[in-house]
């Protein structure tokens, strides 16, 4: 592809839309202590309920 063709193509994309740009990681967000605790609490809640659902499902299979 010639430089002119590349230039023509690239003008229809936003600069931050190029693979070159999207493959660069965005910065890490610093979570507050309260937010971290809340997220971990939600995570534990979800794991516990999932385990209950899976246990029930497996029990139904073996009945």
């Amino acid at each position: 592809m010639t430089a002119a063709e590349q230039q023509e193509l690239v003008m229809f994309l936003e600069r931050d839309q190029l693979v070159f740009d999207t493959s660069r990681p965005v910065g890490r967000l610093e979570l507050s202590r309260r937010m971290s605790i809340a997220l971990w609490a939600l995570r534990v809640f979800v794991v516990v309920v999932s385990a209950m659902v899976i246990y029930t499902f497996v029990s139904q299979l073996t009945q």
């Binding site: 193509l9 229809f12 999207t22 965005v26 890490r28 999932s50 899976i54």
Partner: protein
């Protein structure tokens, strides 16, 4: 005085004094996406509104109709067969309204950041949360994909075609749609197939329901279901899981980025999402109305779905035409969902590992993305070949598991949609946050209620 921007040593100064930053290398993926954007640019410049809409719709409709998948339609039909017309008709509309709120956020984040959900969670909140999200997705996707093959198997078994063909059909479809190396091609093929989700509406009309009863149920949400509380919770959780799921979040955000949507396309992205939600709600209600034909004919005890199941039961009550249309609908629902759910798996794996994850790449360039796509479908296909698998149970529990795991995904979605550093002026409005918060609490409570109640019953505490 504002300091001048830092300039790379590769930058050049043009004759008019403007600074030209060095052009990054253009990949084949960029070139393919740019061709699609060229058409959007032309349609917008020439004021061709319908062409513009046609070019920009896709991810929203596919996410919504993809979620009107095999287990969802079986879940709706089971609800209709168990409780008849009433509470669940407006409940389906409510759940799709919730889905529209969530999916609009996905579309907006994808269009503004040009990054998928998995990539953003991993980079913004760290690898632990990123891999938790991807793990949840892969688990629910595998279970759901099994249920999709189950749906195809149920549909094909009505025509006396075996499980082997169902497994082969799904795999061939995935491989066929992936060949071509273009997002646009993949999207249009799957959209073309998704149109046939309307078969469930046809099936509903053919059952000749009492439209007055349908209207009464829609307006009054009555009669309220009676009977077993646990069955009701299962069907409520299953119905939620039939409309809002983790894979939809991954899929629509990644597909919006892969399609090349930008902030200037947000209005059309919303049209796309709302159109998908409305179509999916109408077709979902169609499945429920068709299933309700079995209410009063032993519908609540239909468990023999490992054989002809629903289509077979419908043939006895409503005739061969309804049964045939319903069976074809199940095949379509399963097939479209296999394609979209496999795609969401591919996106998630590619984004989390940090390798190429676009349909605009060749298979050689994006081996992991395409491999995850086909691999997920192949594992699910292999499992349905196991004789005596509890098909209805898998189908319903796939949705419930998705409901239970959804709150975490939604919380991260809301956090990303409020991240001003990423989203700029496109962050959530306060009203959107309120609605999204209520949705998270509602879904968490429904999932937990079923999980805890079922568990206590299983261990014989209640």
């Amino acid at each position: 005085m504002t300091p001048p921007p830092p300039v790379s040593i590769d930058a050049t100064i043009a004759g008019d004094g403007t600074i030209a930053l060095p052009r990054p290398p253009l990949t084949p993926e960029d070139a393919a996406r740019s061709h699609d954007r060229f058409r959007v640019h032309n349609a917008r410049r020439n004021g061709r509104r319908w062409t513009l809409l046609w070019l920009l719709v896709g991810p929203g409709i596919l996410a919504m109709l993809g979620e009107n998948d095999g287990p969802s339609m079986i879940s709706y039909a089971t609800t209709g067969a168990t409780y008849g017309l009433g509470f669940f008709l407006p409940f389906i509309l409510l759940t799709f309204a919730m889905a529209i709120v969530c999916q609009e956020m996905c579309m907006r984040i994808g269009a503004v950041t040009h990054r998928g959900y998995g990539q953003l969670v991993l980079e913004r909140f760290g690898p632990i949360w990123g891999w938790f999200s991807a793990g949840d997705l892969i688990l629910t996707n595998l279970v759901t994909l099994i249920a999709e093959f189950v749906a195809i198997r149920i549909g094909l078994s009505f025509f006396h075609i075996g499980a082997g063909v169902a497994a082969l059909l799904g795999i061939v479809l995935v491989v066929f749609t992936l060949s071509g190396g273009r997002y646009w091609r993949w999207e249009r093929i799957v959209l073309g197939m998704a149109v046939f989700n309307g078969l469930f509406l046809v099936a509903a009309v053919l059952t000749k329901p009492n439209w007055g009863t349908v209207g009464h149920g829609l307006v009054t949400a009555s009669p309220f279901p009676g009977g077993s509380f646990n069955t009701l919770l299962l069907l409520v959780a299953s119905t939620i899981g039939a409309t809002v799921t983790p894979w939809m979040i991954f899929f629509q955000q990644s597909a919006s980025a892969d399609k090349g949507l930008t902030p200037s396309d947000l209005k059309h992205g919303r049209y796309d999402t709302i159109a998908g939600g409305v179509l999916a709600a109408v077709f979902g209600c169609g499945a429920l109305i068709a299933g309700a034909a079995l209410f009063g004919h032993g519908g609540s005890s239909i468990q023999g779905l490992s054989g002809a199941g629903f289509p077979g039961a419908l043939r006895h009550v409503s005739g061969n035409a309804v049964a045939t249309v319903f069976a074809l609908g199940l095949i379509e629902a399963g097939a479209v969902a296999i394609l979209t759910i496999s795609a969401s798996t591919g996106y998630a794996v590619g984004e989390c590992i940090g390798v190429a994850h676009s349909f605009n790449n060749s298979t050689r360039k994006a081996t992991v993305f395409y491999g995850a796509n086909v691999g997920a479908a192949a594992i699910a296909a292999a499992i349905i070949l196991i004789p005596g698998a509890p098909l209805l149970s898998i189908a319903l529990n796939a949705n419930v598991l998705a409901t239970v795991l959804l709150p975490v995904a939604l919380v991260f979605l809301i956090m990303l949609a409020n991240d001003r550093e990423l989203m700029g002026r496109w962050v959530n409005k306060a009203s959107t946050n309120w609605v999204a918060g209520v949705i998270v609490v509602f879904i968490s409570l429904c999932g937990a209620a079923y999980g805890v109640d079922s568990f206590l019953q299983t261990v014989h505490i209640v």
